[in-house]
Amino acid sequence: MKMKGARIVIETLIELGVTDVFGYPGGQVIDIYDEIYNCSDRINHYLTAHEQGAAHAADGYARATGKVGVVIATSGPGATNLVTGIATAQLDSVPMIAITGNVSRALIGKDSFQEIDITGITLPITKHNYFVNRIEDLSDCIREAFKIATSGRPGPVLIDIPKDIQNAEYEYEVRPVPAKFPNKQPSSSSIEKAIRIIDSAKRPYIYIGGGVIGASAEKSIIKLAEKVDGYIGCSLMGISAIPTDYERFLGMQGMHGHYASSMALSAADVIIAVGVRFSDRATGNKEKFATSAKIVHIDLDFAEINKNIDCSVGVIGDIKESLSEIISGISQKNNTEWHAQVAALRAEEKSFVKRTDRLTPDKVMRIINAIKDADTPVATDVGQHQMWAAQYCSFEKPRKFISSGGLGTMGFGMGAAIGAATGTGHRTVLITSDGSFGMNLNELATAVTYNVPLTIVLLNNGVLGMVRQWQTLFYGKRYSNTTLDRHTDFVKLAEAFGAEGIRTSNEDEFRSAFKKAYKSGRPVVIDCIIDKDEFVLPMLPPGGSIENIIVDTEGM
């Protein structure tokens, strides 16, 4: 059937199974929005306060559901406002489609009003991108973009569509959803080598990242852990893959990882790394990283093998398949000494906990854990509160921890939480702080408009805590521009947006506020006053190694 390019965009999205899009209208996407108006019974559009919020929402939607997140923005500033959101998705391998309008082809290259080369700008932060030059290519281009975004290691793909292409008419017919590019199967030689190394392990440590969640290989990891009789640790991106209370799970390792997890990794003789990229935040000084261990690196992306850390063997290919072949090839182990060693580390970790009467971040997280159900996505912003959430929040199911790992995007949380809540249809918690919340708090408007069941726990310490922590530890307490003398009343602010606000400064207040907010099914901001000198501990100093681990800052 013949139809306008703008309609082809919407029809192709629907054909590909898209039910929800996030975005913001503007001059060069007005035709696409006209078709959204026409098709509003088949596709939901969520209007955000700012394009960045829409991009983070699409990202959070994708992380929480495993589906593709779609965001639409106009040309020029609309498109550039997506950039941080696209880069966030790229660094965390999130499948996302960003559709931007552009000026008509005749006006391209003339510095026309709101014209920007968004394909040029997003080249290094997308998996791939398109400038649609011919109406004939439009629907296939969107199909191909989906295929690229979802195949192999996922990532964001941007499609820039000039206005005259949106207005041109062309034939469209519904096609079946294209199959993904097949994942490579691991080579038998790499599997055999991996099996030999794993069979030799007496102190095995399985180190998992976002790739495990992407591959839905969580159960295989548990099987592997049982068979090698070892422990599991994760990167920030691997959080929620393994139930927090699983006996072999030690939690996140790395710069702010759990003590027992980081120490066990450094004591291991074999590290089975699955779907991780060994980021500098996870390894510290690479020269001193896990020096006693042989590393088996299993990843879908061949380019990750030997990129950051040299491994003994790289198993390249489908993660589930690789794990299944390895599990069936290795023998059942019993590592009694290793259990004793890890039990001692865990006991040591427990001894670091200090008792105080004030409301501390770990208490906040434990109260949240006790009240939230297993299906609740927990989104975070970036900074100290993010690390506390990573350390103390408990999870039972994968895709429940929504956090910007690679890019570390302050301001990610509001959009991402809205995306996660609308995608899952479930009550959602955002853990944020006065610093991060300040970056995109305008999305509170979006949460109110769509009555999103979102409990916003705002850890308010009046400072940019993570930078302040570095300034305290490494910059002689010279607090350059990290003290926020803002006098923002977050309760009144929430009310001004049409949400509810509650201030809490002790455990009981917080518990009753959180219960009330969580059950209310609408957006509530809980302003949670904490001390400005709460530290995220343990800490491996940047570029340091496990010997430099800081577990206590008394006297510093």
Binding site: T119, G120, L123, P124, K127, H128, F131, N133, I148, S187, S190, D301, F302, A303, I305, N306, K307, G314, I316
Partner: protein, 170 residues
């Protein structure tokens, strides 16, 4: 650190060269030469690039190139199993004092004078980069006005081709 040459088959589409070079910037690769042109098949262009680096840099370059959607094939062309050529146009001052010396150099290096005027000569030379470097050294004392090098193009020896060879990423 050693020099190496990569042959890269890419889709012959608008913007593909930018995608490749943008990746170099993003990953911090510094290349020595890059040439791009049509191939036997209109669908593809062939990029030949040379760069210096250790084994790690070489592996990273190959892997990151292979990740680009428009890159179809990447092959390392080592010195023994491939032939390398570069073309240079070089303009030198023409004077009665040096004319004969320049002519002799042109002859010995089997190059060609392609433009001649009373005060300048333009010479075309093809060969391995080392030969071209040597030729420049010879001409320097006579006064080089300007020069232009194409960068290296290279093909594998024998009957194999980059598109038919197996690609193993491990």
């Amino acid at each position: 650190m050693s020099k190496f040459i990569l042959a890269v088959y890419v889709d012959n589409k608008f913007g593909v060269l930018t995608r490749v070079t943008s990746m170099f910037t993003r990953r911090g690769f510094n290349i020595d030469t890059l040439t791009v042109g049509e191939t036997e098949s209109p669908e593809y262009s062939r990029i030949t690039l040379s760069m210096s680096g250790d084994g790690y840099a070489r592996a990273q370059m190959i892997n990151q190139l292979r990740k680009l959607y428009n890159v179809k094939k990447v092959e390392l062309l080592d010195e023994e199993s491939s032939i390398h050529r570069e073309l240079m146009l070089i303009k030198v001052k023409n004077s009665s004092k040096f004319r004969q010396d320049i002519m002799t150099a042109v002859d010995v290096f089997r190059s060609k004078i392609i433009d001649y005027s009373t005060d300048a000569m333009c010479i075309e030379i093809t060969g391995e980069p080392s030969k071209i470097n040597a030729f420049i050294e010879i001409l320097k004392p006579f006064g080089i006005i300007e020069m232009c090098r194409t960068g290296i193009v290279a093909l594998e020896r024998g009957s194999g081709s980059i598109l038919t060879n197996d690609q193993e990423t491990e």
